[in-house]
Symmetry: C2
Subunit: 339 residues, 2 copies
């Protein structure tokens, strides 16, 4: 595929194709299905939905916008599929001081997922797939716990729903593993994982049961770009040679610690410090203060950016070391004092 | 954009954005629109549709599949938007012997377009854009007349509908002009033209009135690929230097003439010879005979392919000359005799 959006689009198409084959006892489309789809009638054109989450971002095509809920400017004026959106956990930090609250978040969100699966089934619009980010990035750096994702895996397995993990932002090593879902210790792997960005091309991998049997159902003119694969091969070689994932894990742990300390010394200006590896974020009391901070940080020489309503997010590259970390926190400290 | 499908997706998004701005008296989205779209409620998430045509192909994303009607295997098992599909002319050839019949085709198809615009308006699902190929390629090489497209331009202007011409297959010179719509002599240009394939990257151009004012509404991570533009610049340079469009026009006229002669001498095996420039097609009595012909032609050394149910299509590249044409028709003749 060419990009993260097209990876997600085709992953979802693959899920629909599998879901309909299951309804036919594992068979491909028959004459009735092939005829009726040309008039967009059932059974060839089914009512099927994909579940997304509040705060999610999966791309800007019409299909992906229907499961995207990060910012209004992406969605406004564009028609959408009537697909369910479930709650995604909103934890309190630090995690070790908010265990009971956060556990309840997981339970409430998983209950919402179950309720909406039932509701859409009653509306004859079965949920064929659930798509979820390990870390809701565009939507404000919201992190899901391993327990939440284990719950999602169990629910999707129980209902025969395809579990798609969108690792377009998280895939590639910056969370301290090549895939963020490696941290979850799932009972069985996700059915599909989509990727792009750091992996230089777009694509997805999937369980063998999802392989589409008929030709031309998942297809595009260029079928990716071989030159991007050459670049990716070299990038992976360097990641291994220089131990960049291990480095990202170590420097990431230090980053999280220092961000917590910065928050503690910020006199209430910073809150909810959080992260995984070198993925990290912290909240300001308001969006306007966050924006001021970002402007000042950039003029001080620190490249950083906002996400969500009032979060500041950090996305160091894989070559980020302790030396860069010291510089980062000097500049954060200076910026905070100048605010 | 990265490909033809993403060009079409974003052209359609641009059309929706414009259509909704017109409803607001030219203004961008207000607070009510921005809030309601996050719950996919009106007015922020409108009911709006795009009209496509029977036999059309515009890509394989969920949005584009909703206006695609070329082959069941593309559409089956995939949910779709409830968007109108109008009739596209099915002419008899040769054109100069079927003037009255073909004129009636144009009239019937344009009446169908008008009727379905009204029907979808009554269903509170206004047609915001019409997307059409100059030559329905995947669907069986169906050519629309200049009069048909002039009619479409007039209808879309009258109703305030965005007129999108999908030149993903036809753009680049092989029809005897850089754009196939250059042949139509329209009262005013199409509102948007999308392209890809021969133009090496994906994109679209549009009337100034359609320019989106707000940031981040039409956007993707990579915003195309600059290396593809370097290749395209060189390709355009060679097209001009070697007069390849003029050549394509001349050799195309000869191609059409020879294809008519081949049909006349085929003893009824070939029918409906048609084309524009070096875009050309001819029909067989059945799909199975067409498939046999294609296999035999390839084994004879002629690279060609089928389209639609029983058509054979020709897509010579821009460097195709009289010498290649003689060779083509020798091989076609040999294949036909061996069938």
């Amino acid at each position: 595929m060419l990009c993260g959006t097209s990876a997600n689009e085709n992953a979802i198409k693959t899920a629909f194709i599998w879901y309909q084959a299951q309804r036919r006892g594992g068979l491909g489309p028959d004459a009735l299905h092939l005829e009726s789809c040309m008039n967009q009638q059932k059974p060839g054109t089914p009512n099927l939905s994909v579940m997304g989450f509040e705060g999610a971002f999966h791309g800007r095509s019409l299909c992906m916008l229907s499961v995207t809920r990060s910012k209004p400017i992406h969605k406004v004026d564009i028609p959408a599929f009537d697909w369910p959106i479930a709650k995604f956990p909103r934890y309190k930090y630090p995690l070790d001081q908010n265990v009971a609250y956060n556990k309840k978040q997981d339970q409430e969100c998983l209950a919402d997922v179950e309720a909406k699966i039932s509701e859409w089934k009653r509306r004859d619009n079965d949920v064929a797939a659930i798509i979820v980010e390990p870390i809701q990035a565009e939507g404000g750096d919201h992190y899901g716990s391993p327990a939440f994702f284990q719950g999602l895996r169990d629910i999707t397995s129980k209902h025969g729903i395809v579990f798609i993990v969108d690792e377009v932002q998280t895939g590639g090593g910056a969370t301290g593993d090549i895939w963020a879902h490696d941290h979850w210790n799932l009972s069985s792997p996700p059915d599909m994982v989509t990727f792009s960005k750091k992996l230089l091309t777009g694509g997805y991998f999937y369980g063998e049961h999802l392989r589409v049997k008929e030709a031309y159902r998942i297809y595009n003119t260029w079928m990716g770009d071989p030159t991007k694969l050459l670049l990716l091969e070299k990038a992976v070689e360097v990641i291994k040679r220089d131990g960049l994932i291990e480095q990202s894990r170590e420097v990431g742990a230090e980053f999280q610690k220092r961000l917590g300390e910065l928050q503690a010394s910020s006199g209430g200006k910073l809150d909810q410090a959080r992260g995984r590896g070198t993925f990290a974020a912290v909240d300001f009391p308001s969006g306007s203060l966050r924006d001021k901070f970002v402007d000042l940080a950039i003029s001080n020489g620190l490249h950083c950016g906002g996400c969500g309503d009032r979060s500041l997010r950090f996305r160091p590259s894989l070559v980020y070391t302790k030396k860069h970390l010291d510089l980062t926190f000097d500049l954060l400290d200076k910026t905070l004092k100048g605010l």
